[in-house]
């Protein structure tokens, strides 16, 4: 199954990125390049990965998520996730990555977080 990735700018530098399909060895480049693009052209600081459309992930997909998190943190930003299907959550669980990744369960919760983040980015 291929991977397509859509994105939406919520506030300046704050993006929701929605991969759709399989996030694996053969497709991870599509997400990686989309994120590179947003970092370069959109000065992305905070990325929410909406995983609602992802039904398969392998360790190569996990790498992209963790590397992006690392890179954004280094630049004072953040990566958070939402809408993980049970099978996706399970993969992150097995490798114990859930404590590291902020997972939101509702849009409201995410919005509150983003508002707070935005305040810090602007004032920090």
């Amino acid at each position: 199954m291929p991977l397509t990735v859509t994105s939406m700018e919520k506030q300046p530098g704050v993006f929701v990125v929605s991969p759709y399909g399989s996030l694996d060895t053969n497709t991870h480049t599509v997400l990686e390049r989309k994120i590179d693009f947003l970092a370069r052209e959109g000065a992305a600081k905070v990325i929410t990965l909406d995983m609602g459309g992802v039904d398969y992930i392998s360790s190569m997909g996990v790498r992209v998520v963790l590397k992006t998190k690392k890179e954004l943190s280094r630049r004072g930003g953040a990566l958070v996730m939402m809408n993980l299907k049970p099978q996706i959550k399970r993969v992150f669980e097995i490798i114990n990555a859930l404590p590291t990744l902020q997972i939101f369960s509702s849009l409201q919760e995410l919005d509150d977080y983003l508002t707070e983040m935005q305040r810090q980015v602007v004032h920090g």
Binding site: P2, L3, T4, T6, N26, T27, R33, F37
Partner: protein, 136 residues
């Protein structure tokens, strides 16, 4: 003049299919390895850009048409139904200074412009039609 055509999903795995299709469409002409490599590179850069950028929504498809004229000119036409994008108007990347210092980008289109012998672009209704030609 035979025209071969093919429709592919705009995904990375279409790359191999596209390459094989163009290779067959060239027959019986046999381009030099150098020209063949240039064709392959141009196709890769263009297809990959369609995959990465043309459909910011839910993905889409690419249509390929190949024609070889008796003079040995091969033209490959790629059509997508993505956002309007004319690579000929895309500004060249900053090429001076230390590459490793700056953000890496804009290389693909620059390569295409340098390697294709001819490039034409037009927007037709809701599609981008890009034609690249090579003298085999």
């Amino acid at each position: 003049m035979a025209i071969h055509s093919l429709e592919l999903p705009a995904t990375l795995s279409s790359l191999t299919t596209l390459e094989n299709f163009v290779r067959q469409a060239m027959e019986p002409a046999v381009p030099s390895p150098d020209v063949f490599r240039d064709i392959r590179l141009v196709l890769e850069e263009l297809l990959v850009n369609i995959v990465f950028y043309a459909y910011p929504g839910e993905g889409g498809k690419v249509r390929v048409e190949c024609s070889l004229d008796p003079g040995g000119k091969l033209c490959i036409r790629l059509r997508d139904w993505g956002i309007p994008f004319n690579p000929l108007e895309y500004p060249p990347p900053r090429l001076e200074g230390d590459m490793a210092e700056r953000e890496i980008g804009g290389l693909g289109i620059h390569l295409v412009k340098q390697l294709a012998h001819e490039i034409r672009y037009f927007r037709q209704e809701d599609s981008n039609v890009l034609t690249v030609c090579f003298q085999l």
